[in-house]
């Protein structure tokens, strides 16, 4: 009978197995430690987040208290801004009627007098009645009305009615469209 001693092989085998087990153990230890560190970091981050949120909420409360303390200033400012907007709207709707009235009161010189004037804001037009004492003055008035300078100022000007009175005066009615401040 031949005796074969497998002890050496077995010892070698066991040795290699142990080495492998130690290697696996080392890896598992590293993994565990890493994950523990990661977990601690996650919880630390979560805690920091909660602290930030808490600080932010505290600051928000302080600002709210500050804003409430300045309520009077805020209301005064809001009223001011809203009133400015309303005044702006009112100004936009205003037309340049005074400017037109003053212009036509002076533009004809002594050739014509303003005998009547009518204005309604919702219609936006100014109606003027001009009185000339004779036909020559009327001619001059007509030339002035047709002049480039006047037409540049008031593009939409219409001569509507011309009448002659018993005293020989000529009354010319003008209609002009006024611009708004829009």
């Amino acid at each position: 009978m031949i005796n074969i001693n497998f002890l050496t092989n077995r010892v070698n085998q066991k040795g290699k197995q142990k080495e492998k087990d130690v290697k696996i153990f080392r890896i598992s230890t590293y993994v565990l430690i890493s994950l523990i560190v990661l977990m601690v970091a996650v919880f630390a981050f979560k805690l920091w987040n909660n602290l930030q949120i808490s600080n932010t909420d505290k600051k928000i409360k302080e600002y709210k208290a500050s804003i409430l303390g300045q309520e009077t200033t805020e209301i005064g400012y809001l009223i001011f801004v809203n009133k400015i907007k309303v005044i702006s709207e009112i100004y936009k709707k205003r037309s340049n009627k005074q400017e037109a009235m003053n212009y036509f009161a002076d533009v004809f010189g002594d050739k014509a007098e303003i005998a009547g004037m009518s204005y309604q804001e919702d219609q936006g037009g100014l109606i003027l009645q001009i009185d000339s004492s004779n036909v020559f003055d009327l001619q001059d008035v007509n030339n002035t009305l047709d002049s480039q300078a006047l037409r540049q100022e008031y593009e939409k000007l219409e001569k509507s009615v011309l009448t002659r009175t018993d005293t020989g005066n000529y009354k010319l009615t003008l209609k002009l469209e006024l611009k708004t401040n829009d």
């Binding site: 142990k18 598992s28 230890t29 919880f43 979560k46 600002y63 009161a105 009547g116 009518s118």
Partner: protein
């Protein structure tokens, strides 16, 4: 002799494969830490980050608003906030209109006649007809009146009346002159003066940002600074005529009056008791 293989020998396994057992245990614990301690925290952390972001945005808004309010409070021009009430009051400026009319007429040397004003009553047809802006930011009072004087004086009146506060606009003009008979005839003008007042309710919340004044509206501020202020003095106290000490209680305090009443009551009771005793 080969031993019969039976149950698993845990003790032998532990003694011979200690490192492997511990490694397996460590892997199991690692897996638990990974799923319970890390992965399950991702969603809550995301939610916290979103919450922090939104709170930070809210904080920035509040900080900006607070800074703006402090700047407004420290601004030397903040007195304009109350000065705007002169230009566009929040009440019907009836007395102001009448005061302006009188002052401007005197200044322009024109004569006012035939004026009528309908300030309106609560829930009447008049107020409904007179309602102006559809979004109810402002309303107006219309004053119909006539003036007479030289044409240039009436023009001056029309110019001046729109330059006093509260803000007013001449909406209707009808001027006539009988120059057929007299070249220097006085003009007669029928005018409608519309005076505006503010009616918009102001609402705000603590989170609402402060509105910004546009550049075009800033120009309006310089325009309204050129308006002439109304000279009507505000009445803040009751002004009574001096009718003397009608009831004999003038210049007495409430406590003094109480004492007098108590004493008067006691003496009246004493007198009543003595009368009853005599009877």
């Amino acid at each position: 002799m080969i031993e019969k293989k039976g149950e698993f020998n845990y003790k032998l396994f532990w003694n011979t494969r200690k490192e492997l057992v511990l490694a397996i245990l460590f892997f199991v614990i690692s897996a638990m830490i990974l799923f319970i301690g890390i992965i399950s925290q991702i969603a809550p952390i995301r939610a916290d980050l979103d919450q922090l972001k939104s709170h930070q945005a809210e904080l920035d808004k509040f900080a900006e608003k607070s800074a703006q309010l402090q700047q407004l409070a420290a601004d030397p021009n903040s007195n304009q906030f109350s000065a705007i009430d002169e230009v566009l009051p929040s009440h019907k400026p009836l007395l102001e209109i009448l005061s302006n009319l009188n002052a401007v007429a005197n200044n322009s040397e024109v004569i006012i006649k035939n004026f009528s004003l309908n300030p309106g009553e609560i829930a009447t047809d008049t107020t409904k007809v007179k309602k102006s802006s559809s979004d109810q930011k402002y309303d107006y009072l219309d004053l119909d009146f006539s003036v007479s004087g030289a044409l240039w004086k009436i023009q001056n009146f029309i110019n001046l009346i729109e330059q006093v506060t509260p803000i007013s606009t001449i909406t209707n003009i009808s001027i006539s002159r009988n120059i057929d008979e007299d070249k220097n005839a006085q003009a007669q003008a029928d005018l409608v003066l519309r005076t505006f007042y503010f009616t918009q309710p102001i609402k705000t919340t603590i989170t609402s940002p402060l509105p910004v004044i546009a550049a075009s509206e800033r120009k309006i501020i310089s325009s309204i600074n050129e308006l002439s202020p109304n000279n009507l003095e505000k009445q803040e106290n009751v002004i009574s005529g001096d009718r003397g000490n009608l009831f004999g209680i003038q210049n007495k305090t409430v406590e003094e009056l109480e004492q007098e009443l108590i004493q008067a009551t006691e003496s009246a009771n004493t007198a009543t008791e003595s009368v009853q005793t005599e009877q």
